[in-house]
Amino acid sequence: MTKDISRRDLIMAARSPSIDYAVYEESSNQVPIPPANAEVHTSACDYCIVGCGYKAYTWPVDEAGGSNADDNAFHRDFPVVAGRGQWVSPNMHNIVKRDGKLHHVVVIADGETAVNREGNHSVRGGKLAQKLYNPNKPTADRLQTPMLRVNDSMLPISWDDATTIVAELSRYAIDKNGPNAFGMRYYSYQYWENTYALSKLIYNDIGTAIGAEHDKPTGTNDAVGLDDSGVDGFSTSYADFKEADVIFMSGFDPYENHTILFTEWIAPGGAKIIFVNPRKSPTAVHAERNDGLHLQVQPNTDTVLNNAIQRYILEQGWEDAEWISRMTASSEEILMEKPGKHWRRRTFGQDFEAHKAWLLSDDQYTLENAEKTTWVPKEKIIRAAEMMAKPRGKTRPKTTVMLEKGNYWSFNYPASASLSSLGLLVGAGSRPGQNMSRAGGHQRGGMKLKGYPLSKSWVESKHGKEGEPAPMPVNFDQYAMSGKLGVCYILGTTWLDSMNAAQAIRLKLGELTRKHPIQADSLVVAEYIDTLKKRIDAGGMFLVQQDIYPNTLTDFADIILPAATWGEADFTRAQGERRLRMYSRISDAPGEAKPDWWTIAQIGKKMGYEGWDFEEANDIFEKASEKSKGGHYDFSKVVEVARSQGKKAHEFLREMSTTGIQLPARIVNGELTGTLRLHDETFPDDEKDTAPKIVYQFKTASGKAIFMKGDWNLVKDTFEKFRPKGDEMWVSNGRINHIWQSMFDGTRQPFVKQRYPSNFLMINPADAERLKIESGDLVAVENDKVLDQLGNEARGVLSLVAYVTDEVGVGVTYTYAFYPGQSADNVVPAVTDPITGVYNYKIGKGRIRRMGETPLKKVEGTMSFIPRTVG
């Protein structure tokens, strides 16, 4: 039989032989643009703290915009010119349903915002349109209906049954065993309306002490040493970074995951960067190429480095003496801090003279000893001190000091306290170009009715001042693993794979839930509840998962509550310079997914608590404004002004578009006015009656900043015990610019998956040669002794693709922190900070072994192995 030869076959035959492309489908060669009458929705990015402004354009699928400025919603001629934004890449377009009807949607960076001017965007935010649900795309697996595990099958149930089951089992566990039988892990960031509701339920209504935020085992703050010095983590404006001469970045990598802060505000400002990081990432390369410095510190030794730089500055007399005498607290002023609540300030706070005497007396911080501990050559420590503090004639360099998780996710307290003291020493208070700030992770989406109830915790630090209480929050994971939690509610966060000793938590959780001998076999609500009550009584757990996608927790969950998220409901929150904006609904939530506040309200009502009669998100927003009064996110004036104009506060905020307003919001000369920075000594005297005190004072009892003792002795023995020995190497972890967080969206974006189809192990060429490893090989990481939360030790293992690169130094490897299914935390022991209880996420290590090759090694693979130091 003769085979028909199609024209396409002929074309293919005529083509030149070539190596095929790795991406199966050919890329889009065109994209729809919105017509002039498209609907415009104001929003901001869902991802990092920088919170770039975005606008979404929606229009019916049978309409189209044209190339002439008059024919499209951007009012721009196409092709658009370089550097001006408003170009739509194919990843900025999607098809969605809006009010039940198919629409095109384009989500692009808004050139009119105060954050990302001219439409600059990161690789993450640029793809926001792909986040929106489209059943023809990888977002098809969104959770869409409540589901219940019965006979080990996940079966759809009604919202009414689902909320009844959660409410009744919670009520049962609490009535029988007290409020601590209920525990929740929750995001701190995913919008004010939601965090207000969940904090009301767990801390106000139920009153449990078993709560933890997404990235911590407890309910504590993040950069605790910075907080204790009296500096709010988000006290600056991005414009301030342009005024700095020098920016010291401790464990903060702005190109990687605060891209617009870097490309829009830091790099163009021309400040010299001192980049402290075990990894020579693209930011390090940029720093070195622009007269800056890369301090390639040994993981976990930041405390020693920060103290050594301070000591050298003190030896040279380069501290900002005038500012210190004016703005930092005396020993008497430090004792104004409340015992108990502020035990750390009373224990580790010291005045300048005491601080100086302590540093000069401890030889761990001499240049020579610091070089041995930190691996940073002493010449570079001296150079860093000179850049930050050496007077230039009659003036001082304007130095800004920043930190983020590379710092406070090592030894949380001493690392962040030593950093804040370094900042105070060089006068990085709060004035243009001279600031101290966290860089931030997620946006500031926590608007709690009530915070973690430290007074209800029974855990004490052994390092407190003699005779005074030193309360620490309860470790959620430890409590849950010990079987004391009847109801374990995980809301919008990836618990498994993101905490230390990840495999130990996973194994234990299985025993308490899916592998527990007591399992449900009925969809009848009363029968189901009876069965689960028996499991709770037998020391097992009822596990609730409320989320947008299935993840590793779904393997164990008893009930699934589907959530609506960014772009699917109206929400609000602030970003890294306290800028409050409206995140408008763009498209319909999939299936029956609901905003988290709604779900929590149903459960709160069914548990019998008062004050859950919110009908819409705006009701909660307006209610929460009362709680915000006097604080750093005081938005009560926004609500007041909206009401005076007869508008809902959400609608009023929507009119403020992507620029929004920097909080605290004030009324100055009758006008609603934002606030540039906190603790601002340049704040005008005649406006002080319009502002909370933190706007012009530090956040301490005296209003002055406090030098905090970041003492290496607190953690030195732990460091010695857990550091790599013999043939082990550091296995550090963190972010990388393509991926956001647990990759919940990136997993569903082919553009991200082609770049990182697997978690990787960056390894130095010298180590790779010794271990006969090449880029694209499959490698194993094994840590024989991973201490878990219950004090046991077990092996932790991980396999990844090797990425041979000089981005990491000899003896130090690097992985992505939260790659789904390949968690770096598998090989990280559950080491907690002795003062704050926060995990040390950076203390992973292991032996590295080649297992074989991956297909990625071939040129047909999608993953690039070019060292990122080239760019």
């Binding site: 196409f78 092709p79 890449s89």
Partner: protein
């Protein structure tokens, strides 16, 4: 831009419609748009023809030295490179001849002269540092761009190199074949099917 303005500055300006209506010789590359909505894709993919353009003879190519050319429209600059290592989409005896757009698909920064031969990386972009791997289909090494660097599809008759299509949307454009002029010498080939979609302005 108005038609009048185009007429005055671009005497041979072609809109997609014109390209589509041009010659019908032998079919050239076929490009299927995968991103249409279900309603649209059920009507079938949209086939469009790219012009075929001779770029350079294989013989004169020097490893690591670029040859500039504009394609598929006169306003869309690209570079032809012999990487000296096999590459996705690479042609020639060593599968190492490739061509890419030199407009960064983040915000249009010019990547001209930013090829790094020792790694086959293109970049960093002078605007925001985006850098691409030319041996692996233009995938970002690290970048703010939300797509790969567009790669020009090449063919050879053993003697000359021809551009016959492009993989990815060129920065600034809503359609690679709209809002510009065809380069001199471009041969419009292809039996084409007018779009049934609604994406054309």
């Amino acid at each position: 831009m108005s038609d009048e303005k185009e007429e005055s500055t671009r005497p041979v300006c072609m809109h997609r419609r014109d390209v589509l209506k041009a010659g019908a010789v032998v079919s050239g590359s076929a490009v299927i748009y995968p991103h249409l909505s279900s309603a649209q894709s059920s009507a079938g993919g949209v086939n469009v023809a790219y012009p075929k353009l001779k770029i350079a003879p294989i013989k004169g190519l020097v490893e690591g030295e670029g040859v500039s050319f504009n394609y598929p429209l006169n306003e869309q600059p690209n570079v032809l490179l012999k990487l000296g290592r096999p590459a996705q989409g690479g042609i020639g005896p060593d599968f190492d001849i490739v061509a890419f757009s030199v407009l960064c698909p983040h915000m249009g920064g010019s990547l001209r002269g930013r090829y790094q031969h020792d790694t086959a990386a293109m970049g960093p972009c002078p605007f925001h540092f985006s850098t691409f791997d030319l041996a692996r289909g233009g995938v970002p090494v690290h970048a703010s761009a939300t797509q790969n660097l567009p790669q020009v599809k090449l063919e050879t008759d053993g003697k000359d190199i021809f551009a016959v299509g492009i993989n990815g949307l060129v920065y600034g454009y809503r359609d690679n074949l709209t809002d510009g002029t065809l380069p001199e010498g471009a041969e419009v080939i292809g039996e084409v099917q007018e779009s049934r979609g609604t994406l054309r302005g």
